[in-house]
Symmetry: C2
Subunit: 363 residues, 2 copies
């Protein structure tokens, strides 16, 4: 069974650490001697409370954050966060200010716009989203409720390599595709969230790590499930949480810790990304990377080939040798290799070798 697994370059849901999958499989019928599957255990049971507490503690430890931050688990995907953020924090007087760096950044902005509480601080749309806006491009309204970034742009393969200076405006970031992939001074952010299905677990939960001072705001006029405060007050247990997803995120966080933490992840991820970017850079234009060099993502490597015909063949040939999910998003075209924390070096090496031989054969 295991030998038949492929290298999975899908953008999300995405590859998970094999050790984690095996652990979950082994205890699938009887979690922690409870006599029940983790799928069957009450969210009010001490066994699940321990899972939740450990997951939260590990995430905060990995991020190096203290008691002024809290971890929440919320359903609905980052797409629901796009609405909840402006509903909870933005007003017409103090709008949310958005940096547009790709499709999901745009989607986040659109939800604020719908409520009439969104402005744009910068955009790289006109130039085709080849880079993320740099500090000198940001026009930050000092009265903004927050500055919102999409820190890694899965579709375009771009990523921030700096933390914006905001002069006191709270910094919010969607880190769905690079959460826990590298050490950052997370204390410079006020609100971080991530749909976990890319780097942290199975689809079905969003990890929120935010300043308690923000989560304490009440927003009583909003529906109960759309207030961050509801999740904060009840430790993400106001209603039945997506228990299995939280359990898996906990296992992945423990795995990252056991591997050596975010510094080790960053080192591995940089090495993996370099393998592919080197092939692109040394291909004399056969492979054409989408991202500008200063904005290249360590998580999603996007590139085009000389023709759509060759791109189609690339996907087919890759699949034949166990390299799956390399087709790019329709809005960029070409290829995308997602090389999250759980993608082993060997998989990326195999893809790099394949790219070189494919070029040789078709140049």
């Amino acid at each position: 069974m295991e030998a038949e697994r492929i290298y999975n370059f899908n953008p999300g849901p995405a590859v998970l650490p094999l050790e984690v999958l095996k652990e979950a499989q082994a205890e699938f019928l009887n979690f922690n001697k409870s006599g029940m599957s983790i799928l069957e255990i009450s969210h009010r049971a001490k066994e699940f409370e321990a899972v939740l507490a450990q997951a939260k503690a590990d995430v905060k430890e990995l991020m190096g954050l203290g008691d002024d931050y809290e971890v929440l688990f919320i359903q609905g995907g980052a797409s629901l966060q796009f609405a909840m953020l402006p509903m909870n924090y933005a007003t017409k007087e103090h709008p949310g200010s958005y940096v547009l760096s790709g499709s999901f950044a745009e989607k986040a902005y659109k939800e604020a716009q719908l409520l009439g509480v969104g402005t744009v601080a910068a955009s790289s749309k006109e130039s085709g989203y080849h880079h993320v806006p740099q500090q000198d491009e940001l026009k930050i309204d000092p009265g903004a409720a927050y500055l919102h970034l999409c820190y890694n742009n899965t579709i375009y393969g771009t990523e921030y390599h700096y933390i914006p200076e905001t002069s006191g405006v709270p910094l919010f970031a969607d880190m769905s595709s690079d959460m826990l992939s590298r050490p950052l001074d997370f204390s410079k952010f006020d609100f971080i969230y991530a749909g976990v299905q890319k780097n942290l677990g199975p689809a079905g939960v969003v990890l929120v790590v935010a300043k308690k001072s923000l989560l304490e705001k009440t927003a009583d006029q909003l529906p109960t499930m759309l207030r961050y405060n509801t999740f904060y007050k009840k430790d993400s247990l106001y209603n039945t949480p997506p228990a299995f997803c939280i359990y898996m995120v906990g296992k992945v966080a423990a795995w990252i810790k056991a591997q050596g933490g975010l510094a080790v992840m960053a080192e591995r991820n940089a090495k993996k990304a370099k393998l592919l970017y080197d092939v692109i850079d040394q291909s004399n234009g056969f492979y054409n990377g989408h991202a500008d060099k200063d904005s290249r993502s360590f998580m999603n490597v996007t590139f085009r080939l000389p023709s759509e015909e060759l791109e189609k063949k690339f996907v087919e040939d890759a699949k034949k040798i166990g390299l799956g999910g390399v087709k790019g998003h329709r809005s960029v075209g070409g290829m995308r290799a997602s090389i999250y924390n759980a993608m082993p070096y060997e998989g990326v090496q195999k893809l790099a070798d394949f790219m070189a031989s494919f070029q040789n054969a078709h140049e």
Copy 2:
């Protein structure tokens, strides 16, 4: 491992069919020869599309519904549905009308109230929620956008045994705790929803089965993720769905079909419930059932003992012999045995025998 599993009477998350758990465990590292775990497969992949399509088809087949209904999968629990229903369908002129039959019915009403679009058609609160309001208690406003029921009240152990006649007002029901437990004329309902973690799968998704005519309504003023139309137009794939939960619901639906469908479920569930209600009725008051006889639930059997001391001992002694999760909800006290589809007859028989011997020992 299997031998060490307990009989799990938890109200939700709850027991799942052992065959289903074993199947999921066996293919956990490699789903359907894809070389990936079901947790790692793209929601745009043909393998997942097949899972989604089959789950939807099986649910509709079990319910005997035709092309005028559609099946959706939405995150956030029934608690988010409590808000989405009035947001999408109720107005001040045409409010949602609620039948209050327990805690979750109240919670649903409160979200409509918050928006100023909720009224009460009937309530059994004053009499302690011992029964569900009967047809002659319902004061249905003919201008209401819908009449909302909670069809089984998990906490109080009551269940509807009739389908209200509404004179044309659309009938909406939260069936979180009795969905697919018995055949009903589901075509009399316009909108049915269920948090799946009681009778249908692991926590993390709500199954919606509703008339297409309702789902076609656009509600463009609402945040994208709070419009039913968003899910309807994109076949529940507007954003990444909770793929594993949908996969498990599909497996449970297939299991119900293989057992013989809803008629077989209903027969088994009635037999199991009778075992416990008979012990209660023949206990000369040692066991005091909460629900009035005409409103007794086939899913959650609630009862008190003569003292809280005995109730504590009952829970402890039950646990010692592998009967878990029998403690009742704090708002009712006493015991609650949840005996959903997946609870085997043998488990309920063991509990009934234990109840009889516990009475003998402590009367």
